[in-house]
């Protein structure tokens, strides 16, 4: 990748960092999404669906 453009990973990394403080999204959902991104678990649906299930059960 050339210098002037960010990689896909960098773009997503910036996004999820911003999402952490996005007031338009529910706080626990934001935290969960950021954690999944950090753990590299957002490339397939299994982990995300399971995490959403658990989040609903906690409530």
């Amino acid at each position: 990748m050339t210098d002037e453009l960010k990689s896909g990973h960098e773009i997503l990394d910036d996004y999820f960092k911003k999402l952490k403080t996005d007031p338009t999204v529910n706080e626990s959902l934001r935290a969960m999404m950021f954690e999944l991104w950090e753990q590299k678990k957002l490339s397939t649906k299994t982990s995300l669906s399971r995490a959403l299930d658990e989040l609903r059960k906690k409530k």
Partner: protein, 803 residues
């Protein structure tokens, strides 16, 4: 971010695809570019596939039905031969040999350093390094959605596409969740039940539930404070004591059941009625005791009948041995007696069957009666016990008498009067007790007040369950809806991010694609080529075709224009997005390219990719000759292949004319190659000097012969007053036998024409009139200012040229 800088010094193939023993493509310590010529099927692509396999451990074309990983192995190799690809890079830390183990179907690598692993797994895998004629058009023919996916791969945005795909898919699952729909349905049903059966309206929260429950509790006579759900639970427990006794209800149900039995007993008793008629029939049958006693003779008579019938000479009775006077009369007597006994036995048998039913009915009456009497005793219902006992005994004695008399074939004497009287007495007993039972049932009945309380209690419990269930469902639905709303925001944000990022990248990429495409298509009025987002999920090429907007490109572009668009995309992606590799491979990408395109592609590579290591593979001898002349500093190889020896390089001189001279000295046939080389040289000169030739369409333009090109070149030199046409070297070639002989493409006798060695020498001298020592041709476009001369690019050679 580091700039790509990885190049290849040496590539070694062993028993890989077309390669048998180890074969090295040595690109030198300075990682030269290379051009490899080989006819179709000579194994050129094995080099490209070797690089692909080394970097990705797979070969794209070796996938699909009937093809597997093992197909990288050379067909002529033995089991003990190891299939491998070794690469020496300009960074020695990346040097490695990857070998395929046929037995385990595994690939092993001798470099396990973290630098190498990172190079392979995190960097090289994203680079565009290989373009062949199959893949040039592949991208252009994809749908816009797939183009987006492919562009994302090219620019390293797979992460964004994958994450967005995951989020969109999880969101769809949430929105279509069966659990969510089920809960919404339950809420709706419960609201309906509350309205219809409990409160007259749907209660949705705890305060309202408590308020409504307080009203029911008041009906039950409870006015205790009700502020929480715990209060409600306690009051419900307390309210149970305010309900009609459960024991009372149970007893009432028992008495109702006994009453039903008493009512139904009449129907049961009726079953005893057939006894009297049966008794009459039976007694009539057994009255003839003598006949009954001889019933056993029927079988005996049957045997006698058979003996008499079979033995025509029999003259005495087989039973009593008396003389038979009239045989027919005797036989008739036997048969008549036999028939009488059989009929009697049948009648007795039928009566026996009926008796079984009668006895079963009596047993049923006994059972029903006993159960009723037992229930009377248990529920302390007064009745005439003696009457009941007599009835039971009577039934028992009838059953016993019937069985005994029937077995003995004796007459039956049932006291029917007594039975009738007994039944009348029992009916009276039931009628009396039925009144007292009904009176007790009435006494135990629930009052209106109790009914109201019971109803209030039922509604209290039912309402509480429905409201609490709905509160729980609503909470879960709300959680779902919050998640859906949040996920929708995230999905939309990532989609916007994806599209804005893509747009930015597409603009950068499009600038180069347009530049390269226009370079390759200088005379076509196709411009402003760019990749643009289409809708939310797609990408498509847009361009101006003679000022008309054209999208997709296949709508207006010719096949060669589409090919050049595919090459432009590949090269732009290489330039903008390759992370580590500073090399790429073009494998036979010249399908349907005419000479002008080919020259421009080389010029494009020279202009824009001079710092890249390029490996060109081609089966086009013309193009290969041009490459040889244009890039003499490259590694230039000709290959050939045989099943026994695999791919092999031909020994050759970098200069094609010198190379042909060497071949000629070895006794190889060079006539055809010499013609092709000569044609290539003349075509190059015609382009560079802008020689005007009669118009020819398409491929016909490519098929011009030496005999056609030479006169027009001469005419142009003459018109520009260039003395070269009069040069002895020019004239020597012009009039040589070879030129005359190869004026046609279809000439099989080139090798026998004149002395080819002499022609080669003449050709070298002829070439030196137009090409400098660096093999740069003089060009009409390189006019020397202020002089009637044109020169080569470096200025070493100039010729007279008067416009």
């Amino acid at each position: 971010m580091t700039k790509p800088d990885v190049k290849i010094k040496k590539l070694t193939l062993s028993y890989f695809r077309g390669a048998k023993g180890p074969i090295d493509l040595d690109l030198g310590p300075d990682c030269k570019s290379a051009a490899i010529f080989g006819h179709n099927g000579e194994g050129k692509s094995s080099f490209a596939q070797a690089v692909e396999w080394f970097l990705r451990e797979k070969v794209d074309v070796l996938s699909g039905e009937g093809v597997d990983k093992k197909d990288v192995v050379n067909l002529g190799s033995k089991d003990t031969d190891e299939t491998s690809v070794g690469v020496v890079f300009n960074n020695k830390n990346l040097n490695a040999v990857k070998a395929y183990n046929k037995a385990t179907d595994k690939i092993k690598c001798n470099n396990s350093s973290s630098e190498f692993i990172e190079y392979i797994d995190s960097k090289a895998c994203y680079d565009r390094i290989y373009l062949n004629h199959h893949s040039i058009l592949w991208f252009l023919l994809q749908l816009k959605g797939q183009k987006r996916v492919e562009i994302a791969k090219i620019i390293g945005y797979e992460d964004i596409v994958a994450v967005r795909g995951t989020i969109a898919s999880a969101l769809r699952d949430l929105e279509k969740s069966s659990e969510l729909s089920d809960m919404r349905l339950r809420i709706s049903n419960n609201d309906g039940l509350m309205t219809r059966e409990v409160y007259g309206e749907a209660v949705t929260d705890t305060p309202k539930l408590l308020e409504k429950s307080a009203l029911f509790l008041k009906t039950l006579g409870l006015s205790d404070p009700l502020k929480t759900l715990e209060d409600l639970e306690k009051l419900i427990t307390k309210a149970i004591n305010y309900l009609p006794s459960e024991e009372r209800a149970k007893k009432r149900l028992t008495l109702e059941s006994i009453k039903t039995k008493v009512v139904n007993f009449k129907l049961v008793v009726d079953k005893i009625k057939p006894l009297k008629s049966w008794e009459e029939k039976y007694n009539a049958l057994v009255v003839d005791k003598q006949t009954i006693s001889k019933l056993t003779l029927s079988d005996f008579l049957k045997s006698a009948e058979k003996i008499v019938t079979d033995d025509k000479n029999l003259n005495s009775c087989p039973l009593c041995e008396q003389e038979i006077k009239d045989r027919d009369k005797f036989l008739k007597q036997i048969i008549d007696r036999y028939k009488k006994y059989v009929e009697l036995r049948t009648q007795l048998s039928d009566l026996g069957t009926e008796l079984v039913i009668i006895k079963e009915d009596i047993i049923k009456i006994e059972k029903e009666f006993s159960e009723t009497i037992t229930a009377y005793k248990e529920n302390k219902i007064a009745y005439d016990e003696k009457l009941a006992d007599d009835f039971i005994n009577l039934l028992l004695s009838i059953r016993t008498h019937l069985s005994k008399q029937f077995d003995l074939r004796e007459a039956i004497a049932v006291d029917n009067v007594k039975i009738e009287q007994s039944l009348v007495d029992i009916k009276k007993l039931f009628a009396t007790t039925k009144v007292s039972i009904q009176s007790e049932i009435d006494r135990l009945a629930v009052t209106d007040d109790e009914k109201k309380k019971q109803e209030a209690f039922q509604k209290l419990i039912r309402g509480k369950d429905l409201v609490l269930a709905n509160i729980s469902y609503r909470k879960q639905v709300k959680t779902y809806e919050e998640q859906i709303a949040g996920m929708r925001i995230i999905d939309a944000q990532i989609l916007a991010l994806q599209n804005s990022s893509l747009k930015e990248v597409l603009n950068v990429l499009s600038a180069d694609i347009n530049k390269f495409f226009c370079f390759l298509n200088q005379k076509d009025k196709v411009k402003n080529v760019r990749l643009e987002l289409k809708g939310e999920e797609g990408i498509e090429f847009n361009l101006d075709f003679y000022d008309y907007a054209a999208s997709p490109p296949k709508k207006y572009l010719s096949e060669s224009q589409q090919n050049s668009l595919g090459i432009a995309l590949f090269l732009a992606a290489v330039k903008k997005f390759n992370k580590v590799n500073k090399f790429f491979i073009l494998d036979d990408v010249l399908i349907s390219f005419d000479r002008n395109y080919r020259m421009r592609l080389l010029e494009l590579l020279e202009t824009e990719f001079s710092d890249y290591q390029i490996i060109l593979l081609t089966h086009e001898i013309y193009w290969y000759q041009i490459i040889r002349r244009k890039f003499p500093q490259w590694v230039l190889k000709e290959i050939y292949w045989s099943f026994d020896n695999g791919i092999q390089f031909k020994d050759e001189h970098p200069d094609w004319i010198e190379n042909l001279g060497s071949k000629h000295k070895k006794g190889e046939k060079i006539g055809n190659e010499l013609r092709i080389g000569m044609e290539g040289l003349l075509k190059e000169l015609c382009i560079n000097l802008e020689v005007r030739l009669p118009y020819r369409a398409g491929d016909e333009n490519e098929r011009r012969t030496i005999g056609e090109l030479f006169p027009y070149l001469t005419y142009t030199l003459q018109s520009k007053k260039s003395p070269i046409k009069d040069d002895a070297h020019y004239k020597a070639l012009e009039v040589s036998n070879f030129i005359v002989t190869c004026s046609s493409h279809d000439n099989p006798d080139l090798d026998s024409s004149a002395d080819l060695g002499d022609t080669i020498e003449k050709l070298k001298k002829f070439r030196s009139l137009f090409l400098c020592s660096k093999m740069e041709s003089v060009k009409k476009s390189l006019k020397i200012p202020g002089k009637d001369k044109i020169s080569c690019k470096c200025g070493e050679l100039a010729i007279d040229w008067k416009e």
